[in-house]
Amino acid sequence: MTVKQLTHTQGLGAIIGVVIMLAAFTMIDVSGWWTRQTIANVVQFTAILGFVAMGQALVIMCKEIDLSVGSVYGLTGVAFITLEPTLGVPGSLLAALVIAALAGLVQAIAVVKGQLPSMIVTLGGLFTARGIIYVWTGGSVHNFSEDARNHPVTRLLGGELFGIEAAIFWLIAVGLALNLLLWVTPFGNQLLATGGSKESAESRGVRSNRVKVTAFVLCALLAGFAGVLTLCDRPQTHVTLGELMELEAISAAVIGGCLLTGGRGSLVGAVLGAFIVVSFRYELIALGAPSSWYITFVGVVLIVAVIFNQLLARRLGHSV
């Protein structure tokens, strides 16, 4: 990547943020931070949040927002575990992902056909999906049978491959595929054009409603897949699965360079944003701060990142 290409990278702010953060952590906690265990811990959870953040980035790029991703993550996970005795592991995986996709589709249709604000629709989706989890589980936790835990699909999606968490491989694979979709196929241009100016995009033949529906469905699918990956690693449902994850995902996407005004964003940036968010949690705990400070720091980092990204974009001559 040339310097020119780098400066045009939408996630440049996140790259700079990661470099500054790593430098700071190295200075204050070199022996604690640069250990295999620490990096493995941070990267493992980054992988899960990264999926949800990438989905959120896609939706934000087309000037919408999805507040339901945490609940969809939870609902998909619950579906995967509770349907397994009836459908088997592959069947419940498929059914769970269909549920996730349907959640995205229904919300997308309400947004584009009903001309409703996505914030309201997905807020409703958040409560609806969470309520379904409560009713479905009856407040109980559920477990995978020993056979289901040892099923090849479960082992492929969860646990470790070559000593590295499987979720990381999946993030790389899905991340590459989505980046190709965004930067090589016409869908990427259509998505950014829809987010930049819907009217202008439509005047050039972009079917912006279809683009938005695709973004919402992809977002829900990514959140659902993250839920499945989590439960393949630890096959125990809980009604709080994914609670508040939507806020972390939005933070990660915004820290990663997505503008809430649409038309700009980066999937790599969203993953780096997730890395920053998770790293801060680790380092605050490592430094002895009460873990409840974490959410405050995410707030501060979010505001700083927005200001920084805007300044950076203006300096590089991009519209914000």
Partner: protein
């Protein structure tokens, strides 16, 4: 003769029916409401609702209602409480999750003649200052932590588990007075043995909680005891320690995990040797006894003169089998097995 028989039979039927109505009217009808923070997202709700069903069977003239929050917040709980008071129930049972927040609405209810029983969590302030409820029925959260800590230390003395160097009390709700009291009890027990005790807010979302706890254990390598203040988070703690190679099973080395609750996860964790001990705070009694006291108060004017402790009862490997039998009886085999997440 035929007509006389008909008149007599009709009179007899009417007299029987009227006397039944009179008996039914003699028995007062009551409605008691339990306003709880233990929602349908918490398996412990079953203890309370099932014991209230048993109470209704014994007292058919009493209707009990269970209302609760799911996404817990003190504000939401207060709102539910105010809604319950406005319906004019004959009695209220409520956990005093926040003395300050509950003081206003509960004093108003008591002034209006609605008897209140605190359950699960008491108003921790001294007698003259606390909300003037009838009595408290529940465990003692401070004693829960303290007795579990003391039990662990007894096992250390017996040479069965390692001496504690650092204990982390992993809590999912930073505003819950009861959970804080559990940690305080554990702190008081363990600090006497020379261990350092930290309180860690891990949240209730499983992946986030595991990540937070793992971060803590990596940064504080001298931690060798984890106390999860909810039973359902104990497998998370055990799993994290296992992944980190910290040998979390109950033996003479590595990390020792303690938890609370008499649910399937906690009991089966003890039986499997993953958890040293858990505790029962007598959840079944916490659903039943407040209703009984509200009934006795309304019907006969009785008032207990002290709090009624239903726990803590230590559940360890010696009595876990009996507890499993008891809990299976309440939850049913299917639910019990489904909820065993080990």
């Amino acid at each position: 003769m035929k007509l006389t028989c008909k008149v007599l039979a009709t009179t007899l039927l009417a007299a029987t029916a009227l006397s039944s109505v009179a008996v039914a009217q003699d028995q007062k009808q009551y409605r008691f409401v339990m306003v709880s923070h233990i929602g349908s997202n918490d398996p412990n709700m079953g203890w309370l609702t099932k014991s209230m069903e048993e109470f209704e069977k014994k007292y058919p003239n009493v209707k009990t209602e269970y209302i609760s929050t799911n996404n817990y917040s003190v504000q939401e709980h207060v709102r539910l409480l105010e809604q319950a008071i406005s319906t004019g129930p004959d009695g209220i049972a409520v956990p005093i999750v926040s003395s300050d927040a509950f003081e206003g609405p509960l004093r108003k209810a008591i002034d209006a003649g609605i008897p209140v029983v605190a359950f699960n969590i008491p108003d921790a302030r001294p007698d003259g200052e606390r909300i003037p409820y009838l009595t408290y029925v529940g465990g003692d959260e401070y004693l829960t932590g303290k007795k579990l800590g003391e039990y662990a230390l007894a096992k250390v003395e017996a040479g069965e588990i390692p001496k504690p160097t650092r204990v982390v009390c992993a809590s999912h709700d930073s505003a819950h007075q009861g959970l804080k009291a559990r940690c305080a009890g554990m702190r008081d027990a363990m600090e006497k043995a020379g261990a350092k005790v930290d309180e860690l807010f891990i949240g209730a979302e499983p992946a986030t909680a595991r990540n937070t706890l793992q971060s803590f254990l990596q940064a504080n390598t001298d931690t060798n005891y984890v106390f999860t203040v909810a039973g359902w988070s104990s497998p998370w703690a055990w799993g994290v320690a296992k992944d980190m190679g910290l040998d979390p099973d109950v033996d003479g080395k590595g990390v020792t995990v303690l938890t609370v609750d008499e649910g399937p996860v906690s009991i089966e964790g003890v039986r499997a040797g993953h958890l040293l001990a858990t505790n029962s705070q007598g959840f079944w009694l916490q659903g039943y006894a407040p209703m009984e006291w509200l009934y006795w108060n309304k019907e006969f004017g009785y008032a207990p003169q002290s709090d009624i402790l239903t726990g803590p009862v230590i559940i360890n490997k010696d009595n876990a089998d009996n507890w499993a039998t008891l809990v299976r009886g309440v939850f049913g085999d299917k639910a019990y097995d489904e909820q065993n997440t080990w």
